[in-house]
Amino acid sequence: MTDPAANTRVLVVEDDPNIVDLIRSNLAVRGFDTVVSQDGMRVLKLLETEDPDIVLLDLMLPEADGFELCRQIRERSLVGIIVVSARGGERDKVTALNMGADDYLTKPFSIEELLARITATLRRTRPAVLPEPQTPVVVAGDITIDLARQQVTRLGQPVHLTPTEFALLRELATNRGKLLTHSHLLRRVWGHGYETETEYVRVYVRRLRAKLEVEGGEPLILTQPRAGYRFAPE
């Protein structure tokens, strides 16, 4: 496996100087390139000028709404977003995921945990060369999924998916008609250690449905209550 730190730029959005120093020291020593924004104002600008590979976003910033910032980042970029928050509630987690976050880390965290989450998110959002898929193109109703080119179209019009959304769709579409459990999807898409984060799958399936399914049309992703999901069979 290649070193995840190589040529990786992390944008840290955090106002507490101690935590900035903590994250920066640990990332720098492992070869990551770190850019810090202590307030919300500069984030969108830095996103453009620094082109980070991943954003660590604190939700509680002075003079800024962390959720809104997350939404704005997602609107502009497919960059991996890990929300770092002192708020541990399920609601905040689901809201952050809904606003486009890829992962949610609750304070206090250990450095191992932080590094593991960064690595997992990077693997997903910046995937290495994948083995040639057996079925390079999957067609379901109006939707065409080009697995090799990582492109999705509906009626010929491109649909923009974030890397995490695409990874989930690929997993579902390459196992067409098969029931995939929550923990299977979590392990395959998010990585080891995520098996119990059921709401991640739920939020992301909802996001996929919103982007791909037509109201009243044939469902693309079928829910198997309390078990998992399956992609519409051929």
Binding site: D16, L22, S25, R30, T95, F109, L114, E215
Partner: protein, 837 residues
């Protein structure tokens, strides 16, 4: 949301009904499955962001676009497919871009297409017709010969509306009528719309301005991405919720919505007319309990008739419309027969609910409580609360229902009374005047005064007064009406009030008192919600003669109405209390969430740095190791301080704070406090103590804590370079004052309103839990002193005033002064276990 079945839901058939409407432009779905109905006389607002489909919907209704799917009916008839046909059916539309004829004058535009032959041949008739139309709509455009192109945007909009109204439409659709207007002009157009609504015009208003919708609309439909996402009642909705719905952002505003609703209902309750108060009481109860489903049965002809309900679809309660007393009447019948609350913790396991299984299933009822409403003449009804989960109600909840059952009984009684009053002419007139005053939009207190004046007039008495004695308090003269000239109440009246209120509880019956002062006094003692009360009247003439019975009746009826007014006042207070309680709950939640953040921040640093040092794959250089360890130590100390503050705060909050007082030298206390500051900050602080400052009887350590907090606060909340001056002086021989003054940026508004309350506030540079001021306040109070905040032109000043000795220690303290040694010894003995060891 309130359904009053007594009104038989005599709702007219919809004027406009749209079902399954869909419009597709190429691949864009502009409208998608839109269903809506507009009833005659309603003003329905369409809210939506740009592109949400508002204009498209209006264009469909106007016949300007043929929908891809769905149907539109006007009074049950399908609307035509072209604008002219739709206009003939009675739909008039004012478009955003108006479509006025620029080169024609006002009259021509207003009457365009409707010129009669008579008009065409007479210019003056033509203009008169236009002017009369404008005038009937209250549009202030005098000169109908002005060219439209010379009018302002607002005037053009008024002309366009006038033109639409000229055809006497059954439905007026307005597309963003004020979107491009200035404030004044928008207000003019809004006034016109409000006027049309008053006259009963049915209006569909596509609109951007959320406040405007709340001012004008009976209903608000929210469109998002071509779909109707909400159908809202402005009275029970908060504007923020509409904003959230428009943008599709999720909001959690249940608590705030309930608060708003409670406020709204409390307001409406005060100004309610009698016939609607039952459902108002019911919805107020619903709001107070946080319950969505309630109903109320009234006793009529030995049966229980469902008079009001909340939260049920029409027809859902059909099986409960009329219930007999006893077992066959289910829980309602049982509660009515036993006159005791009937609690069903689980309706599935309840025998009383067996006949009503369908109702329980349809309405999702899991538990119910039926509480009898006891009126003065026996049982008057039953209130039933439905819950979607099983289980018993809490004690306060049940008390709340009983409380509201009392209000309901008063209301039923008031309605009955009104009916009886029709028999007596003069009495009726006075009573009605009084009730109107009490039911009007004025506060109860003012209403009482007006009512008492009316009563004095009706009784032809010299004086009338209402005196109450709230539980455990002194009598309070709530209202008094005397002869012109403003004389105070006569001694006879005062004596009567005192003697009646000293007696047992009032029964609401009149009695006549003879007075030695040559006045005749009638009194009606009664019991209001908050204690005994008495209505008094006095006459100089010795005998009432034939009018005696009338006087009796009038005073008893009046007393009854006054009791209801007093009860309503009490209910208003209860509402305010409930609202305040909810607000304090919200603040507490905010506070806890902030506190959790403040605790997690140092923990994150400690855990992070510690785990960094333990990483097997990295060897940190010496400076990094030192820095990490230093940070861990500093953050642990910060965490320790936070925990200390929390413990102090909870000690103060729970009233368990114990002082260990001794004679303290204030300059020493202040010096010690300054010494606790970080070395960098000490330079900014200067201490000035007046000469001859007495020693104070206080807990040295706690006092030091107060000044550490105040000085820290002054330094921490202000920009670097701020000077802090601490002064101590004697204010009276028994009081000293210590001021902490800074010349910084001052206290923010949100903090200045309640500086000593713990609660969510700005994050501090010092990183505290925001408890410093609360703790200082608690300690100073425990010393019998007080603490005040003053905002200065530059900076702010906290002033602590302390007693030299606190009350109760005076005699003892005098002895202490004899000799230092004696003071220490006796002080120790007197303070016993509290003494510092």
């Amino acid at each position: 949301m309130v359904a009053v079945s007594e009104l038989a839901q005599a709702v007219a058939a919809p004027l406009l009904s749209v079902s399954g409407l869909g419009v597709t432009f190429g691949s864009v779905r502009a409208l998608d499955g839109v269903n809506l109905t507009v009833r005659p006389g309603q003003l329905v607002a369409l809210a939506g962001e740009n592109g949400a489909g508002k204009t498209t919907l209006v264009r469909c209704i106007a016949g300007d676009i043929t929908p891809t799917q769905g149907e539109i009916f006007l009074s049950g008839r399908r609307v035509g497919t072209d604008p002219a046909a739709v206009a003939r059916q009675g739909v008039a539309v004012v478009w955003q871009d108006l479509a006025l004829c620029e080169n024609l004058d006002v009259a021509a535009n207003v009457l365009l297409g409707r010129e009669t032959r008579r008009m065409i041949f007479s210019d003056s008739r033509f203009h008169a017709a236009a002017a009369s139309l404008l005038d009937s709509l209250g549009i202030p455009i005098q000169n109908t010969a002005r060219r439209v192109s010379s009018l302002s945007g607002g005037q053009r909009q008024l002309v366009a509306v006038a033109r639409a109204m000229g055809s006497k439409p059954r439905l007026l659709a307005l597309d963003e009528p004020t979107a491009s207007l200035g404030v004044m002009e928008a207000a003019q157009v809004e006034e016109l719309i409000a006027g049309l609504r008053e006259k009963g015009t049915t209006i569909l208003l596509a609109c951007h301005d959320i406040d405007q919708m709340f001012r004008l609309a009976d209903r608000i439909l929210v469109l998002r991405q071509g779909r109707i996402v909400a159908d809202l009642d402005p009275l029970s909705t908060h504007p923020d919720d509409v904003v959230a719905l428009l943008s599709g952002q999720p909001v959690d505003s249940t608590a705030r919505r309930q608060l708003t609703r409670l406020h709204g209902l409390a307001d409406r309750l005060v100004s309610a007319d009698p016939s609607s108060s039952l459902s108002l009481i019911l919805s107020a109860l619903g709001a107070a309990l946080g319950t969505e489903q309630l109903c109320m049965h009234l006793v009529r002809d030995q049966r229980l008739i469902c008079a009001a309900s909340l939260g049920f679809a029409p027809g859902q309660l059909a099986s409960w419309a009329q219930l007999p007393f006893g077992t066959t009447g289910g829980p309602v019948g049982l509660a009515a027969r036993s006159e005791k609350p009937v609690i069903e913790a689980n309706v599935r396991a309840s025998t009383a609910w067996i006949p009503f299984g369908d109702l329980a299933r349809m309405a999702g009822v899991a538990s119910s409580w039926s509480v009898p409403v006891a009126g003065p003449g026996g049982l008057s009804g039953v209130i039933t609360v439905f819950r979607p989960r099983t289980g018993l109600p809490q004690r306060q909840e049940l008390q709340l229902v009983t409380l509201y059952a009392g209000y309901a009984a008063s209301t039923v009684e008031r309605d009955r009374l009104l009916a009886q009053a029709t028999a007596r002419n003069r009495v009726l007139e006075t009573i009605r005047e009084m009730l109107e005053n009490l039911a009007g939009p004025i506060p109860v207190t003012d209403g009482l005064v007006i009512a008492v004046q009316a009563l004095r007039h009706g009784l032809q008495a010299d004086e009338v007064a209402l005196v109450t004695r709230p539980e455990g308090k002194v009598p309070r003269w709530r209202a008094f009406a005397g002869p012109p000239g403003g004389d105070p109440a006569s001694p006879a009246l005062r004596a009567a009030a005192d003697s009646v209120l000293a007696e047992a509880a009032g029964d609401g019956a009149t009695r006549q008192l003879t007075s030695s002062q040559g006045r005749r006094v009638r009194v009606v003692p009664f019991t209001a919600a908050n204690g005994p009360a008495v209505l008094l009247a006095s006459w100089k003439q010795p005998s009432a003669g034939k009018a005696a019975q009338e006087e009796n009746d009038l005073m008893e009826d009046a007393a009854h109405s006054l009791r209801l007014a007093l009860d309503r006042e009490e209910a208003g207070l209860a509402h305010q209390e409930a609202a305040a309680l909810r607000r304090s709950g919200e603040l507490q939640r905010d506070f806890l969430s902030r506190l959790s953040h403040e605790l997690r921040t140092p923990l994150t640093a400690i855990r992070g740095y510690a785990s960094s040092l333990m990483q097997p794959d990295v060897t940190w250089d010496r400076p990094s190791q030192d820095r990490f360890l230093g940070r861990i130590a500093a953050e642990s100390a910060r965490l320790g301080r936070l925990v200390d503050d929390l413990l102090d705060f909870s000690t103060i909050e729970s009233g368990l704070m114990r002082l260990q007082p001794d004679w303290c030298d204030l300059p020493l206390v202040l010096q010690a406090a300054v010494a606790c500051l970080p070395p960098d900050d000490t330079a900014a602080v200067s201490v000035e103590c007046a000469a001859g400052l007495p020693v104070v009887w206080a807990d040295h350590d706690r006092l030091e804590q107060v000044f550490v907090n105040l000085i820290n606060n002054a330094v921490g909340h202000n920009p670097p370079g701020t000077r802090v001056v601490v002064t101590a002086e004697t204010v009276t021989p028994l009081q000293v004052a210590i001021s902490v003054t800074d010349d910084g940026t001052g206290i923010p508004d949100d903090l200045a309103t309640a500086p000593f309350e713990a609660g969510p506030r700005r994050r501090t540079r010092t990183g505290g839990a925001g408890l410093g001021l609360s703790i200082a306040h608690g300690i100073v109070r425990a010393h019998g002193g007080r603490i005040e905040l003053r905002r200065l032109a530059r900076g702010s000043r906290f002033r602590v005033v302390l007693p030299v000795e606190s009350a109760g220690q005076h005699a003892e303290a005098a002895e202490h002064r004899l000799t230092d040694v004696a003071a220490l010894v006796t002080g120790g003995a007197a303070q016993g276990g509290n003494h510092r060891d």
